[in-house]
């Protein structure tokens, strides 16, 4: 029987980043992927003839240092250097356009508020500092509070402290204050126009089951801004799946193995120590370490099993809030959809965003949803919020059609040519996110990035450093600190703590 230094469960971007770094260190790694393709959430798939789409994320980039370390450019990864505009749709078709050129964006903002236009460049400057803070925080291994932390964990935290302090006292304070704020309060410090505020605040809701008046959306706004490197998505030439393909290429070139159609059923545990995995076909593969890139709930409650874990740990894992509420609607058109290029949002007012979220709170589907729309040639991709994973009535086997209808009706109000242009369509419900992409409760983040589930409380307090109660078993997915969105931070970090 072949044995490996490390087996990685899941070929999502974090799993692949971890694999590539380990392979680079000369370790014998094996990545096991349940689906027939690598990428996890970072995939470009075909849903029919000429219907190739970025299934879940319209864009994204890995952290630049990761791209450089792993030499991903040589594996065909080309990130668009031109940032497309972020457009907030208005009923009168005089849309608010945040152009990548700050001066142009300010010009568009001016139509809504002179003051907001004047604040745009200082705001961008502040958000750049915010991004530096978020990346620096996500690069740090979080200490295992309240158990106390060792010297290296203390060092990482001290370094983070210094990095934040270097942003300047005033900015440091503003960032720290911004974390527990609501997105509404956060933007209210800079802007007066509800239209401008809602457009910026929508970033704080993207991917999360939280409203604009929800505590901590100040943080999620900063988090998403940092991962996007701005407001609009950065698309990847050839589709976001190229990121995963480039990573897989790097892993293989460095001597790592990747197996698709290889679903891990169980982590093999003997005397509280992981020693390999069992696949769903019964095959057992042994290894020195096991890293799970799957979400913590699935990892601990299914792959490990509650019986192998301390009761209070299990209790905490059961309590992780997943609560997915994102659906995707992809439309293949004849090209005459009329939607402009860029990241296009339906987020007309702060209250609109909050009301859209109310549906999730009451286990429903938003009748007036917050939408984020991107186009790629003839394909229109709609990110739909909110569609609660757990529905009060009806179930996701049939309710997908409702999401599709609401999404199309909402967009058609702005783009009357859209409906007649539709040739084919594909809806991905929260249940599809769970069954197809392995996301428990359809949560893209492997656990909501709420104030009580972030930083040193991610995935649960006391276990924020990728380690688990099972020796030689580590976590590296979005559910650990660094995760949430596409950056590769948690995949990078796990390698630092591996024995």
């Amino acid at each position: 029987m072949k044995t490996y230094d490390t087996i990685i469960i899941g070929a999502g971007h974090n799993g692949l980043v971890a694999a590539a770094y380990l392979a680079k260190k000369g370790k014998k790694v094996l990545v096991l992927e349940r689906r027939d393709m690598v990428g996890g959430q970072v995939v470009t798939e075909s849903f029919g003839e000429n219907f190739k789409v970025d299934s879940l994320h319209a864009g994204g980039t890995l952290r630049p240092d990761i791209i450089k370390h792993l030499n991903l450019a040589s594996h065909g990864l080309v990130v668009d250097t031109v940032r497309k505009p972020f457009i907030s749709l208005q009923a009168d078709s005089k849309h608010l356009v945040f152009d990548a050129d700050p001066a142009k964006a300010a010009e568009s903002i001016k139509r809504f508020s002179e003051k907001d236009a004047a604040n745009w460049i200082p705001f961008l400057d502040f958000m750049n500092k915010v991004s530096r803070f978020v990346h620096s925080a996500n690069a740090a291994i979080m200490p295992r509070l309240p158990k106390g932390f060792n010297a290296s964990e203390g060092m990482a935290l001290a370094k983070l402290g210094i990095n934040v302090r270097m942003l300047g006292g005033k900015n440091m304070m503003r960032i720290i204050r911004g974390i527990p704020m609501t997105a509404d309060e956060f933007v209210d410090e800079w802007f007066e126009s509800d239209i401008v505020k809602a457009a910026v605040a929508s970033l704080g809701l993207h991917g999360f089951t939280l409203g604009a008046f929800g505590a901590g959306t100040g943080y999620t706004l900063m988090h998403n801004w940092a991962n996007r490197g701005g407001m609009s998505h950065v698309s990847v030439q050839g589709g976001i799946g190229k990121i995963s393909e480039a990573l897989a290429g790097a892993v293989r070139l460095l001597g790592g193995e990747i197996r698709t159609n290889a679903e891990v059923k169980k982590v093999v545990i003997k005397d509280m120590r992981a020693s390999g995995v069992v696949l769903s076909n019964g095959e057992e593969i042994s290894s020195g370490n096991v890293i799970s890139a799957a979400d913590p709930k699935h990892t601990f409650l299914s792959l490990v099993g509650a019986m192998e874990l301390p009761p209070e740990f299990v209790w905490n894992v059961q309590s992780i809030k997943m609560r997915g509420s994102v659906a995707k609607v992809h439309l293949l058109t004849d090209g005459k959809h009329g939607i402009p290029d860029g990241t296009v949002v339906v987020a007309p007012s702060i209250k609109y965003l909050e009301k859209a979220y109310d549906a999730a709170k009451y286990h429903q589907i938003s009748e007036k949803p917050y939408l984020e729309v991107t186009t790629s040639g003839n394909v229109v991709s709609i990110h739909f919020q909110f569609a609660a994973y757990k529905l009060k009535s009806g179930d996701w086997k049939t309710e997908g059609a409702k999401v599709e209808k609401i999404a199309m009706d909402t967009l058609a109000e702005y783009f009357p040519d859209l409906k007649p242009s539709i040739v084919n369509r594909k809806v991905l419900t929260p249940l599809d996110l769970e069954t197809t992409y392995g996301l428990t409760e359809g949560d893209l983040n492997h656990g909501q990035l709420m104030l009580d589930q972030f930083m040193f409380m991610r995935p649960i307090p006391g276990w924020s450093n990728h380690r688990t109660p099972i020796d030689n078993l580590y976590l590296c997915g979005s559910g650990v600190h660094g995760g949430g969105g596409v950056s590769g931070a948690s995949g990078r970090n796990v390698v630092k703590v591996l024995k």
Partner: protein
């Protein structure tokens, strides 16, 4: 406001309880003593047959395919080694290896167990049952229990039970019929004497009581309250939750918690069993590194104590019941521990105590001194660390 409840035996016990000496136990009223002094009740346990209402024990039924797996995970013992009809005494710990509670596990059949405990443990059991195919139900109220203790207890049961209890071994149980009702009889108890515990449906409680009282008449059967029981359990070296140790689930500070090793339960910690059980890592570590505390028995030196009383012109005085108080234990001028329960043993004619001593003072034979109050003044009576139990009659396990 929480209302204390009466046990299913209340109709009988209340009629007999002369001093109205009621005690609170796990939400129930139970008799402290049936007479104004407890001597007769104490001697019934040691010389004849004592009938004690122990219904307030918490009781849980654990059933299902994974029942043994769950208990093996929760408790420190190797439950898979248990045969049907066997009873284990066990501790259970939190994941830091600190004791939450202790009690007995009885294997009623291959997939059915009854667990007893001093305090509520349902949530803890449920928390541990995630992923197990098991059904847990609390039967504290629906199952009544009587403890029949003392050298004559077997003879009483032989007279009244449908099936012979002669072959029932120590820490085993059997199904039986008594006073016309179905009961389970286990050879267990809290006195360190020959004794049995009888488990029945609460509705049958009075029938069983009456049958036992009638059958035991010729054997000196005596209803006994928990004050006499408390004295005998000290003689037997058995500790009590909230008196001799604090549950990890409601200790205020770390120092209040105890591990099973610290309470002398080394023999119940099956570190050789496979897989995870709650507290395993911490217990392995403590086993390797040694415990910093140990519960031991101490005997107070009568002559030494006599001298302290003689200083003020008094003869030695000993308490009439077990004393549940913390009494400092010294070596030289340094406090090295404390006694948590002390009792005069009428049978041994000795003043004894359960004491918690720091390393290395817990070694057998160590000379220590225990604080006693002599005519309002703190004094230190010489004492010695001795082996537990203080008293173990040959008929206990025979």
């Amino acid at each position: 406001m929480q209302q204390l409840r009466n046990t299913p035996f209340h109709e009988r016990t209340s009629a007999l309880c002369q001093p109205q000496n009621w005690r609170k136990w796990a939400g129930y009223y139970v008799v402290g003593s049936y007479e104004h002094t407890i001597d007769r009740e104490y001697w019934a346990i040691r010389n004849s047959a004592a009938l004690i209402d122990v219904t307030p024990l918490m009781k849980y039924m654990i059933k299902g395919k994974d029942a043994a797996n769950l208990l093996d995970r929760v408790t420190t013992r190797n439950i898979h080694k248990m045969s049907v009809g066997q009873v284990y005494y066990t501790a259970w710990c939190d994941d830091e290896g600190k004791m939450i509670d202790d009690g007995t596990v009885a294997r009623l059949d291959e997939t059915t167990f009854r667990l007893t405990s001093a305090e509520p443990n349902l949530r803890w059991l449920m928390m541990n049952a995630v992923g197990f195919d098991v059904h847990i139900s609390e039967v504290s109220d629906s199952v009544a229990s009587l403890s029949l203790q003392g050298p004559n207890s077997r003879s009483v049961l032989k007279r009244v039970c449908e099936s012979d209890v002669e072959g029932l071994k120590y820490f085993r149980l059997m199904k039986n019929k008594l006073g016309g009702v179905e009961v389970t009889i286990s050879r267990t108890g809290y006195t360190g004497d020959l004794g049995y515990e009888i488990w029945m449906e609460a509705k049958d409680a009075l029938k069983v009581w009456d049958a036992l009282m009638e059958a035991g008449q010729d054997y000196g059967i005596t209803p006994v309250g928990i004050l006499a029981l408390d004295m005998t359990r000290v003689e037997a070296g058995l500790f009590m939750l909230d008196v001799d140790y604090t549950s990890a689930s409601h200790a205020w500070i770390e120092a209040q918690k105890s591990s099973p090793f610290e309470l002398g339960l080394d023999w119940t910690v099956a570190l050789d069993k496979p897989g995870y059980f709650v507290g395993r890592k911490a217990l392995e570590k403590e086993k390797k590194e040694g415990s910093s505390w140990k519960m031991v028995g101490i005997e107070i030196d009568w002559v030494g104590m006599e001298a302290l009383y003689a200083e003020v012109g008094l003869p030695p005085q000993v308490p009439g019941t077990a004393v549940r108080a913390s009494m400092p234990i010294m070596v030289g001028n340094v406090q090295v521990g404390y006694a948590s329960t002390a009792s005069w043993s009428p049978l041994l004619k000795k003043y004894i105590a359960l004491a918690h001593l720091e390393k290395p003072y817990y070694e057998l034979g160590t000379d220590v001194r225990m604080e006693i109050t002599v005519e309002h003044h703190r004094k230190h009576a010489p004492a010695k660390v001795v082996k537990l139990p203080f008293y173990e009659p040959e008929w206990k396990k025979k």
